[in-house]
């Protein structure tokens, strides 16, 4: 891997972000709106019922961590779509760039954006709700890492689908996280889901992250099973995503889609 190439692609994305108001909204506006709505709703819920102790920190942590997965996935996809939209695809794919460098750059910017989002939302959570996300301690880093990796896997798979199916697959860049949200048990425990959805939740890394997070907030401890399950599933899905991407990339070259979508 040539890190100079990765640096160049990251630099390109940072230039794009610095010139595009909508990208700033992705980092600052939507996450903040999420935080405000879910935060105030959880305060209201605490007023009408106290049956779920620590609901406020649970929901606030959940919305902050959900944004980690969402941003990591979305940035990987949008970095690719930027090249399609600006008709820069041929310049990129005809350059000495390995697919792993291209994807790696998307991962780096995904990490950067998710990190900034956590910092911004964490500060605002302290300001509006007197909640300190750092109370999660070192576990925060483990939860963050697992969600980042799941976001990367989804982003890589969706990018592969763009290569294979072209513009009709673009909507997936925004839709895919929400397909996984119900079984990720972001805002509620897995056991309230119907049995068949519980089965799906068990094989979703994010559900273990959010279950672990709730356990940590309510008891102060997190069952290591959740960590091992999330890490194991993430490794499995990342391998599957990489295989799918490679297969879609080769298929796109065979069918001429790389050149076609670039035109």
């Amino acid at each position: 891997m040539n890190f100079r190439v990765v640096k160049a692609l990251v630099l390109k994305y940072l230039y794009v972000c610095s010139r595009n108001t909508f990208r700033a909204l992705d980092v600052f506006f939507w996450p903040v709106m999420d935080l405000l709505i879910w935060g105030f709703m959880s305060i209201y819920m605490m007023r009408v019922t106290t049956s779920v102790p620590k609901m406020v920190p649970m929901l606030i942590s959940a919305i902050i961590l959900w944004n980690v997965l969402y941003r990591a996935q979305q940035v990987v996809c949008v970095a690719f779509l930027d090249d399609v939209w600006s008709r820069n695809m041929l310049n990129i794919w005809a350059a000495p760039i390995r697919p792993i460098e291209y994807v790696g750059a998307g991962y780096v910017v995904g990490f950067m954006q998710a990190f900034i989002v956590v910092v911004v939302m964490g500060i605002l959570a302290g300001f509006f709700y007197s909640y300190n996300i750092l109370e999660l301690g070192l576990h925060l880093a483990i939860l963050f890492a697992n969600l980042i990796i799941m976001g990367w896997s989804l982003g890589l798979t969706v990018t592969g689908l763009f290569l294979r199916f072209g513009p009709p697959a673009e909507a997936l860049a925004w839709a895919v996280p929400f397909i996984f949200q119900p079984i990720s048990a972001v805002f509620y425990p897995v056991d309230i889901l119907p049995p068949w959805m519980q089965t799906l939740a068990q094989i979703t890394p994010a559900s273990h992250v959010f279950e672990g997070m709730r356990e940590l907030i309510s008891t102060g401890h997190m069952n290591t099973f959740h960590i091992y399950a999330a890490v194991g599933l993430n490794l499995l899905y990342m391998s599957i995503a990489a295989t799918l991407f490679k297969s879609f990339y080769e298929e796109a070259r065979k069918r001429g889609f790389l050149a076609k979508y670039a035109a």
Binding site: Y15, D82, L90, G256
Partner: protein, 254 residues
């Protein structure tokens, strides 16, 4: 690399899409320092050929060797020594001119990037626009910027897709002179597809006329005009495109 060294060697190259051949049994080579023109009407297979040379499309059969290597083993090494410029491709529009060139200089691992960028911007008369947003450039300026990108790494092989389309005659003439000058000084090889017969006549040492994916004539511009008993390449082009020629035998200067 000696003057007679083969830079590009294509043998029996074919590409089939859904049962139809875009390129069929194409063979040619390009020597070091040679400028080869690919001519043909729309759908003749020129762009598919260029895309296969850039490893964007996998051939159905046949082989491509560039600098004596093939893409399966040496993709990055080959692409590092090549570059590509097209009037129909753009650099990210919301980046400044200088930023786009910085990004590609890094991608191509250009060591003296700052000096090289300044030199190319000056050469293509874009220095005064370096801090402008790329999206605000005229189409002619964007084409020249793309050529700057294409020359950043001092390529040994340059692929050009209609490099002077969207340029006014004055700029087109300047660009042709720049390409010729750089080619003579550096000895780079060039494959140039164009519909502009002045480009082809002035730039190309040898021309391949393509039709429905195959080469139907090749030689120097004069040889081709003589064979088709025509006064200009444009006449030959129209004749071939309308398929009203008597299909003379292929000329080969190999």
């Amino acid at each position: 690399m000696s003057e007679n060294e083969t830079v590009v060697e294509i043998k029996n190259l074919s590409k089939e899409f859904k049962g139809k051949f875009a390129v069929k049994d194409l063979s040619f080579d390009v020597k070091k320092g040679e400028i080869l023109g690919l001519l043909g009407a729309n759908g003749a297979g020129k762009t598919t050929t260029i895309h296969m040379l850039l490893n964007l499309i996998t051939p159905t059969s046949g082989s491509i060797r560039i600098f004596g290597k093939d893409f399966a083993q040496s993709r990055i090494e080959i692409l590092s020594r090549m570059n590509f410029g097209s009037a129909y491709q753009f650099l990210p529009y919301n980046l400044k001119v200088i930023e786009n060139l910085r990004v590609f200089a890094e991608i191509y691992s250009v060591d003296d990037a700052k000096e090289r960028i300044a030199e190319l911007l000056d050469l293509f008369e874009l220095s005064h626009l370096k801090n402008n947003s790329t999206g605000m450039l005229s189409s002619g300026e964007q084409t020249r910027l793309n050529l700057c990108k294409a020359l950043l790494n001092k390529p040994d092989l340059l692929l050009l897709d209609e490099p002077t389309a969207s340029l006014d005659p004055d700029q087109a003439d300047k660009v042709r002179k720049i390409i010729l000058d750089l080619q003579r000084r550096s000895g780079m090889s060039v494959i140039n597809t164009s519909h502009n017969m002045i480009d082809v006549h002035e730039l190309c040492d040898r021309i391949l006329f393509m039709q429905t994916g195959t080469v139907i004539a090749q030689g120097t511009a004069t040889e081709i005009m003589d064979t088709y008993q025509s006064q200009s390449l444009e006449e030959v082009f129209i004749m071939i495109a309308r398929q009203n020629s008597n299909s003379p035998n292929t000329i080969s200067n190999n």
